[in-house]
Chain length 370, copies 2
Amino acid sequence: MKIMCTKSNLLQGVNVALKAVSNKTTLPILECVLLEANEKGIILTANDMELGIETVLEGNIQEPGKIALNAKLFSEIIRKLPDNDVEITTNSNHQAIIICEKSKFTISGQAGDDFPLLPEIERLQSISISQFMLKEVIRQTIFSISDNENTKLMTGELFEINQNNLKVVSLDGHRISIRNIELKDCYENIKVVVPGKTLSDLSKILNGGTEDEVNIYFTNKHILFEFDSTVVVSRLLEGEYYNINQMLSTDYETKIQINKKEFLNCIDRASLLIRESDKKPIVINIQDESMQLSIQSFIGSMKEEIYINKEGKDLLIGFNPKFLMDALRVIDDEVIDIYLVNPKAPCFIKDASQSYVYLILPVNFNAANI
Amino acid sequence: MKIMCTKSNLLQGVNVALKAVSNKTTLPILECVLLEANEKGIILTANDMELGIETVLEGNIQEPGKIALNAKLFSEIIRKLPDNDVEITTNSNHQAIIICEKSKFTISGQAGDDFPLLPEIERLQSISISQFMLKEVIRQTIFSISDNENTKLMTGELFEINQNNLKVVSLDGHRISIRNIELKDCYENIKVVVPGKTLSDLSKILNGGTEDEVNIYFTNKHILFEFDSTVVVSRLLEGEYYNINQMLSTDYETKIQINKKEFLNCIDRASLLIRESDKKPIVINIQDESMQLSIQSFIGSMKEEIYINKEGKDLLIGFNPKFLMDALRVIDDEVIDIYLVNPKAPCFIKDASQSYVYLILPVNFNAANI
């Protein structure tokens, strides 16, 4: 193989492919990226057997061929080269010779044929969405997946397409996050569960442009994202996702309107008094036009008052402050609506069109301490 | 005690004092800052028994008094308060009540009288230097102190004043770093060894202005830095510092001039092929108008050529790449002079006026591998 590529193109490609390189593997070949020059162009491929990424680089092929190179070493070398053209050749000993200006690296690789192929995906069912929107919905839901491998389905997110609506759902047993997106076209119904790791890796390599499209293809076992000159393939999680509709009630006894930033900053301050191990709740006392937040721990106590608009009954209710903050941090609205029923029932933070819905379960607290 | 202070003044003061708060202590009082309001003003003091910092805050005293508060908790609370006036009062239970806008924290502290006093320093001998210059000389020497507590004196830096010259020296057995500064005035001779930790903490709280002065006071056992509204007191290291003059020869067989950035970037790239455990040297081959750098490890090999100006003999010599990089990173000159004798003798990187001198010992290498 002999190719010529700019340093910046190489670096961009390697950084994309790196996301699918396994950190914890005993198979050295899975720590590699495959560098291949063929009739399709110069291609970098990484594959951790759950997630695969393939990205095409601009450059000049003088001789086709392929080699698998340790991904971390290769990316570090490229990063530190001068900002100029880079020539990469291979020899018959599975070595790569990397030349840039007066610098010449020789590193050992492995036969390209030993690298595991990405699964072939039939591109039948697909939808189209902007990179910006896909990146946003991941950011606004990914925090409430579970990291418990015993409830495997909770480590992923539901992607459900119904006509021109995309619904993305994550839940961890204490809360549910839902985003509803209107798509430009109508599609057949689709319902799949995508691994959380795939989504967080994907969101790091999406450039997030509002004009740049992502095409998403679905099969029974895989999901494929195609954008820019990159393809991301991931296995799906198997099984029937939780029926969340029965948990989403629209009844409420108390509705409040509150400034999001004030509310978030106040909980953030209060949570200074909690150490991770003790599960102290923040207690919210809604009375007339004000909400009083209070927290009491062995470190100290804190009280703060925030003005609100209220409809309905007064209420005293406790929450895990982290769950409230996680949801508040990803909402872009300046003023938000919160719907409550009683101290045992979940609260809902949602907008009028339900483009976002965050359900959070309350926690018990000792009212005598307040 | 009852005081009133802006959040930003409090935060700035706490951040300064935090540098002298002990992280590893079994004495809870040493994890505290002392907040005191007296006729001198509002004062924050921290003391880890080696290093003490006292800083005066602008603010309003309604009732004098003092209290010791957990430094980390206090600083986190102040950081997260709204950007407004903060009122701090104490009660008879050694509690502090911190009020800002509608937020009210109550945290437990300890009696201010239990806090260890800073040593009283007689302010007899002193010098004056700009904050910028002091911060620079620390940055340009601190990297070559030793962290080995068995050679205690190597964990500090020599500060030697001779008339209007300040010489700052650090060494670790493999290299020596020297900075010579011209002072505005002439002073009596002084020779002290300042703990490295003191200097690195100090350099973080110096604002680094060229117009802002630091007054440095010396006693037999202590050094005191006074600047802005802050005083830093530190113990000195005891003992006679190494006689470095015998190691500083001015003879050389080879003198080269090289572009610093090219040289640094080249070594930086080459060091990618070294893992921390294997002590592979970078080999430098000086021939005529060029220097060839090469490195060979079990990961791979690298060669690169750099144009130089040379006086004297050709030379083949090996170095620990980290030691070269550490020195090159802190030199501001675009082109540097390097003086060499033979493959067993130290090299010197220094400017004509010797405002900086970096001595680095070479390492052995197997010439057959080059």
